[in-house]
Symmetry: C2
Subunit: 405 residues, 2 copies
Amino acid sequence: MKRVVAKFGGTSVGTPERIRHAARLIQAAVEAGEQPVVVVSAMSGETDRLLGLAREFGGDLGDRETDVALAAGEQACSALMALALRELGLQARSVLGWQAPVVTTGPYGSASIDGMDTSVFEALLGEGIIPVLAGYQGINTAADLQTLGRGGTDLSAAALAAALKARCDIYTDVDGVYTTDPRIVPEARRLDAVSHDEMLELAAQGAKVLQPRSVEFAKSHGVPMRVLSSFVEPGESAGTEVMAEPRIAEKRLVSGVAYARDQARIALLGSRDGGDIARACFEALAEGGIGVDMIVQAHSRTPGTINLEFSVAHKDLEAALGHLENALSETEITSETGLAKVSIVGAGLRQRADIARSLFGVLAERGIEIKVLATSEIKISALVENDAVERAVRALHAAYGLDQI
Amino acid sequence: MKRVVAKFGGTSVGTPERIRHAARLIQAAVEAGEQPVVVVSAMSGETDRLLGLAREFGGDLGDRETDVALAAGEQACSALMALALRELGLQARSVLGWQAPVVTTGPYGSASIDGMDTSVFEALLGEGIIPVLAGYQGINTAADLQTLGRGGTDLSAAALAAALKARCDIYTDVDGVYTTDPRIVPEARRLDAVSHDEMLELAAQGAKVLQPRSVEFAKSHGVPMRVLSSFVEPGESAGTEVMAEPRIAEKRLVSGVAYARDQARIALLGSRDGGDIARACFEALAEGGIGVDMIVQAHSRTPGTINLEFSVAHKDLEAALGHLENALSETEITSETGLAKVSIVGAGLRQRADIARSLFGVLAERGIEIKVLATSEIKISALVENDAVERAVRALHAAYGLDQI
């Protein structure tokens, strides 16, 4: 029998009716001859409710006790899912993070998975019982409960699938990964397949279908994933396969257009070209916990000096400038707000460095100014005015043929 | 330092404000030089909410998965209490049933405590950290979560107090044990002290301040308990001490008047006097899971035959009659509904068997008919009409001097 880890997110188990529907999807998998293992999030809203209660007492993410409170949400839901499966005539049993155990390491609130003992799962499967793992949680070597951060149940599912050598089906409230945001481009198409790297870039750029760490885990452990809708009848969601690259790399140049609003640009102008400034700059920002994106370094007009530019999220701008002014008191620092990032993502970009030039052309034709342009292996990103972001996304989506996939 | 296990029930931790107030009571204990260990219930309403969700899927008490869902309530609350204590500048850490571990045995939903490892508690106390145990739960030898039944957090607290050789303070929404229900008798007085046996009889008779199993546990392990209000400022609740008998036995004849409405009487008339009928009767009821109370056997007017009478809760009457008619097809069975039980409880009754007669007198003076009268070591109970129960309670409360304690 084909083993499948089936993960249901918060909206897919948000009400008793939705839990019942998710159980029917599992029943259909069993009837199709598969051997499912279920992983569940907390019912939607429950994590926020518990976090809100913890915050009433100064508890925050990163706190041992907050993790204890939060883990209760997935615990309850795993029990309810086991009961829902039993109601359909299936045998099922909840497995909590500490019961497996899922061994975690790192900080509370954003722990990573260090190991996963499969013996409990193997024993249950051997008896024809469907295990239902409470996602998002594990225990560290001190036997303290830890949670894996928002979206951590995706990581639980990917790790369990790797350990059980199973496929990983991620049931969510959309029926796959799209070429871009359908709210902006009605012609956006569902992708039948994306590579792990493409999924990572699309996820990091704002297409929040899968938690990036789960995709990284799946990539490094060779776990095949699918993104499916839990809001349709069994068999109705075609979904998107997330797979190793070779099978799909040649088919498309660009797989999707992603965007992120509310970015800011910071420029350090005319620094001496020695590398010291850049190192001091990024060290200061890293110590301040500020994420930096789209770094561009170029020679300036003054010989022997460079301009260093990068983007940060608008909400981090003030803190970033504070850190930089402390660390680089003699450097001229300027900033610009009201920006957005538009990216084209595609495994095919590896072989086609000239695409950056065509992207300039597509946006210039529409009168959209590119403030900063940065390329990575399978992505090209441009910083544009916030006001222009929707036009930019639509133009790129059409120009790279994504309307016709 | 004097060790104290302080247990807070659902209403005492029902809102963030109440949790904060409970934490202040603990802070006051610390300031008074005590070394507290906290045990918490789920926030009030939470157990019902989780049980309601489980029942949506056919899960009921007694079910492995229902226990997993229910245990989440105390888990979250233990974390919140630890955070609340920390906010007051105290060090605190939640301890879940499986982390201690509290070892349970018996059926899901009403497990009993088989053992309690104190090493986690001793280690925390040694570091000056207040442990906050999630009550109502433990794990059996298969590492399955189990709950202890309604009011089980009292049992968690009593067992922990026994293991730590500590006093056990039960914080609740009343400030002690009363001579009777103040809603019926405004003159009801708080008792400064009751014996474990008196507490057991008062609890079983409807004074639902402490879970009976916790009192039995405290009695057999010599744990001193106190019942205190968590709804007043620190030091303001005098409470009731629940203690071994000798210290208080001689002071009072009667300590309290308890009552329970909605009882029914079953009579087996004119059975042959051989014991077989009684055994068959109570075996049939025990197999049906029906609790029997107030058993009276007397010779009937027909020589060589007996009448057997007993009471059951009204809600169990129909089932009880069904079981009896199956088991005793040749016996005449009658029943009467609309009854209530009134009991006087007092350790002093051991030495004063003649009190039963005076109870007849007190009720007869008010024209209250006694349907069945049964005595146990420290209790005398009478079955009366439901309509007469309040008059009976008031009459007995006054007659035995409880208005003037």
